[in-house]
């Protein structure tokens, strides 16, 4: 009991340090970008603000203060969970992200699910098979892992939405989620597939698999009941970063499929030097990473019962 509390406390502390570090990096990176945040606040250089207006904003936001002083107040803001207001959208960062996060999370979570489905199917069907089937599976996975998302998305869109009309082009809701999620899922599935395949083929030669066969299990049952679990373990570990990375991938997919989401906002925010928004989104992505890792742990424990029991030395 106590150890759990400690463990959670530790994890939280680690996450806070992590978030602060990420925030710090963003802060200094953004300040290395040439350009004046005051201009960004005034609607960007395209708005051609007057020097007076720029000066006024500079003073108001304290952009003329030393960088470290700015960093200090930035940290203070972070600690108070005050992300401030977006320079360009003139809304609170929390509300901007709040409005976009759901869509991105739905996309990435679906994509992760689909990726698993695809890679497990491929593993079950082709992994460890001799001859053509096994080889095709492995080639397909390698190709899938190497497909650029922007290209894949476009092809899926052209074929399944524009040509065949099976899915909406810009639709929201469940049908509209399919193609974008697939776009993210296919390369990830290829990647997961490669990992699970290796693991599967290892497990296949293990004595416990032979034992299972000796008990009368069919080959399909051995694959599904014994080998798959082993094969899934490393894939689960990878899913942690997978989910985090899908958010980065979401940027591309959101552009191709004209979906709302933090990915799109991030690109605009960086381009417009909208520091509060950039920080906010980075935080969210880092947070997703942290949560994803916790979920990975949970999933890991679910699949690997060895981790469930803390006490139980060999009898």
């Amino acid at each position: 009991m106590n150890s759990w509390v400690l463990r959670i406390a530790r994890r939280v502390a680690e996450s806070i340090v992590l978030l602060l570090a990420v925030g710090t990096i963003v802060f200094f990176l953004e300040h290395a970008v040439p350009g004046d945040p005051a201009v960004a606040i005034l609607g960007g250089a395209a708005a051609h603000p007057t020097p007076e207006a720029v000066a006024a904003v500079t003073a108001q936001y304290g952009f003329d203060r030393p960088l470290l002083a700015q960093y200090g107040s930035f940290l203070l803001g972070l600690v108070r969970l005050d992300f401030g207001e977006s320079y360009t959208l003139k809304q609170s960062v929390v509300s901007v992200i709040g409005g976009q996060l759901g869509s991105t999370l739905a996309l990435t979570a679906t994509a992760l699910g689909l990726a698993w489905l695809l890679s497990i199917t491929s593993t079950l069907l082709t992994a460890g098979r001799r001859g053509l089937l096994g080889r095709i599976g492995s080639v397909v996975e390698t190709v899938a892992a190497g497909l650029p998302q922007f290209w894949l998305g476009l092809v899926l869109l052209l074929v399944f939405a524009v040509r065949l009309g099976w899915f909406p082009v810009i639709g929201t809701g469940l049908p509209g989620l399919v193609l974008p999620a697939l776009t993210l899922a296919i390369p990830l599935a290829g990647f997961l597939g490669q990992v699970t395949r290796d693991e599967f083929e290892d497990a296949q030669d293990q004595p416990f698999a032979l034992s299972a066969r000796a008990r009368g299990l069919s080959e399909a049952a051995v694959r599904a009941r014994h080998l798959l679990r082993h094969a899934a373990l490393p894939g689960i570990t990878l899913s942690g970063w997978g989910l985090g990375s899908l958010i980065s991938g979401a940027v591309v997919v959101e552009v191709v499929f004209a979906r709302q989401g933090v990915g799109q906002v991030l690109v605009t925010a960086v381009n417009a030097q909208d520091l509060p928004l950039v920080i906010g989104i980075t935080f969210v992505v880092a947070l997703v990473y942290v949560v994803a890792n916790v979920l990975t742990d949970v999933a890991y424990v679910a699949v690997d019962p060895r981790l469930r029991t803390t006490i139980g030395a060999p009898a």
Partner: protein
């Protein structure tokens, strides 16, 4: 293709339905007084009314102003406003409201860019003479005023709403127009609903009274394939900017009709920075223009969909003079001769010309964002780059993100060439783009950093007269002067190109800025999907 069936029977206007209008670029502010970029004016037309409405022949008809008088010296305009008009927030439209609009536009805090350039040097004051009469005093006669005011850039907004401050006004400007802004979902769409009390349509509208549509979803679909795909699948009813790549498909599609409007004003051109050490020499500028087979570049990239425009002023602009068409036609030999003349006689190992050890390299920054620089434009730039290489000029294509691109604007040291256009209903656009006054405003719109006293003088004279022959002569002279300077390499006129589903009727494009008008549009099936 597409889900929308080709054959739908049109039984005349029916109410109902929310139209999905998909466009490529998202505005930065919904209040067109602020800044003043094209995406703002297109959407603003749906919720803002202007004082007058421009017609294709250049004349104006009443809109919020039922009538107006102009003083003999052309410096005083009295507008009589339509009575009983209310803004969406219930504020009545009166003379003071119009005055407040001008005040807002002129306030530096508004960062009005487009509007300001139309008024700079002429506008003196606006006063409410009575509840419904407003007077505009000018310092000099200004014949293009009415045409300028007809643009949605000069749409009249609620003073109460404007008083909320710039930021809030940007999110949800309030006008008297046929639709009201309900929500702006950044990155996605602007939601508009019908103004049921609307009774202030311009005199040239297809009908008076409230719009037929229940509302509009003004959707932003940056990617060409997606946008066109959405029209094909019936998920969008009208799309802006049918991708040139899809033009043939669209023409062949019976479920889609196309409408086009060629903008007048200054066409999309590469402006040559006359302060750059390379282009401060007119011979080099001329050589640059001579070296480009701009017609071939445009026609090949735009697959013939966009016409080539060889003039500093688009052919559709009032008082356009054909005489000055293509002053420096494609002629590589002449280009080579001019460059030799200018002293660029050496060659480096890549075959580019040199002078005093310096290579003849010009920087051409462009926005890497595909919505800002569509693929076809990028192809044109590349084509020109290859053509210039033939005469030994190296064109450095610099792809920049939006922020860096913004920083480049107005910085004479940041580029040698830059793509620019200025849509305008009047030949006064020459003054707006190339005058000392614009240069002084310093907001980068004079992207060649060029002005000429003689040109300024002729253009000011042009605004002082209302006599068409006199105007024709003056603007012709202006074009003569302008085209002789080789300040730009003109490419093609901007177009408003709409792809419209057959379910939707009576969409039209007004001529001041090519704004799509949706207040007369209706679904033949009443919007049932």
């Amino acid at each position: 293709s597409g889900a929308a069936s080709a054959e739908v029977v049109d039984r005349g206007p029916v109410r109902g339905g929310t139209l999905v209008y998909a466009t490529d670029r998202e505005p930065t502010c919904l209040d067109p007084h602020n800044s003043g970029d094209m995406p703002q004016t297109y959407v603003a037309r749906q919720y803002l009314d202007s004082l007058v409405s421009l017609q294709a022949d250049g004349s104006v008809v009443p809109w919020l102003a039922t009538s107006w008088t102009i003083s003999d010296d052309g410096t005083q305009y009295d507008f009589t406003l339509k009575e009983g008009v209310e803004f969406h927030d219930g504020t009545p439209l009166d003379a003071q409201a119009v005055v407040d609009n001008f005040t807002q536009i002129l306030d530096p805090a508004t960062q009005s860019s487009t509007d300001l350039l139309y008024l700079t040097g002429y506008f003196e004051s606006a006063t409410a003479l009575s509840e419904h009469v407003v007077r505009i005093d000018l310092s000099r006669p200004y014949s293009p005023l009415l045409a300028a005011l007809s643009q949605a850039f000069f749409g009249i907004e609620s003073p109460k709403a404007m008083a909320r401050g710039l930021e809030e006004n940007c999110e949800s400007p309030v006008g008297t127009g046929p639709f009201e802004v309900v929500a702006w979902n950044h990155g996605r769409d602007v939601q508009l609903v019908r103004n049921d009390d609307y009774d202030s349509a311009p005199a040239d509208a297809k009908h008076q009274g409230p719009a037929y549509l229940d509302g509009i979803t003004w959707r932003f679909l940056k990617d060409n394939t997606t946008r066109y795909g959405a029209l094909g699948s019936g998920e969008a009813d009208v799309i802006f900017n049918v991708p040139p790549e899809s033009q043939q498909l669209a023409e062949a599609d019976p479920a889609i009709s196309l409408q086009e409007f060629v903008h007048s004003g200054s066409p999309f051109s590469l402006d040559l920075n006359t302060t750059s050490p390379v282009f401060d020499d007119i011979r080099v500028r001329k050589a640059f223009v001579h070296a480009s087979n701009a017609r071939a570049a445009v026609e090949s990239a735009y697959a013939g969909v966009f016409p080539y425009e060889g003039d500093a002023v688009s052919s559709g602009t009032p008082h356009y003079d054909e005489t000055f068409h293509e002053p420096f036609p494609y002629d590589p030999d002449e280009a080579n001769r001019l460059l030799d003349d200018a002293g660029w006689t050496g060659r480096d190992e890549d075959g580019h010309r040199t002078k005093d050890g310096e290579s003849l390299t010009v920087r051409l920054p462009y926005n890497a964002d595909g919505a800002e620089t569509p693929p076809a434009d990028l192809t044109i730039l590349q084509n020109i780059q290859a053509m210039e290489k033939e005469v030994g000029i190296e064109v450095d294509l610099e792809a920049l993100d939006s922020a860096s691109m913004n920083a480049v604007w107005g910085d004479p040291d940041a580029y040698d060439l830059i793509g620019n256009y200025w849509n305008s209903p009047t030949p006064h656009v020459m003054y707006i783009k190339y005058s000392k006054a614009t240069l002084d405003v310093g907001n980068g719109q004079n992207s060649a950093f060029a002005s000429d006293d003689e040109l300024d003088r002729v253009l000011i004279a042009g605004t002082a007269t209302t006599d068409p022959t006199e105007q024709a002569a003056l603007y012709s002279e202006a074009q003569r002067i302008l085209t002789s300077k080789a300040w730009s390499l003109p490419l093609y006129p901007i177009q408003t190109r709409l792809g419209i589903s057959n379910r939707v009727k009576d969409v039209w494009i007004e001529p001041s800025e090519g704004e799509p008008v949706l207040s007369d549009a209706y679904f033949v099936d009443g919007g049932d999907r």
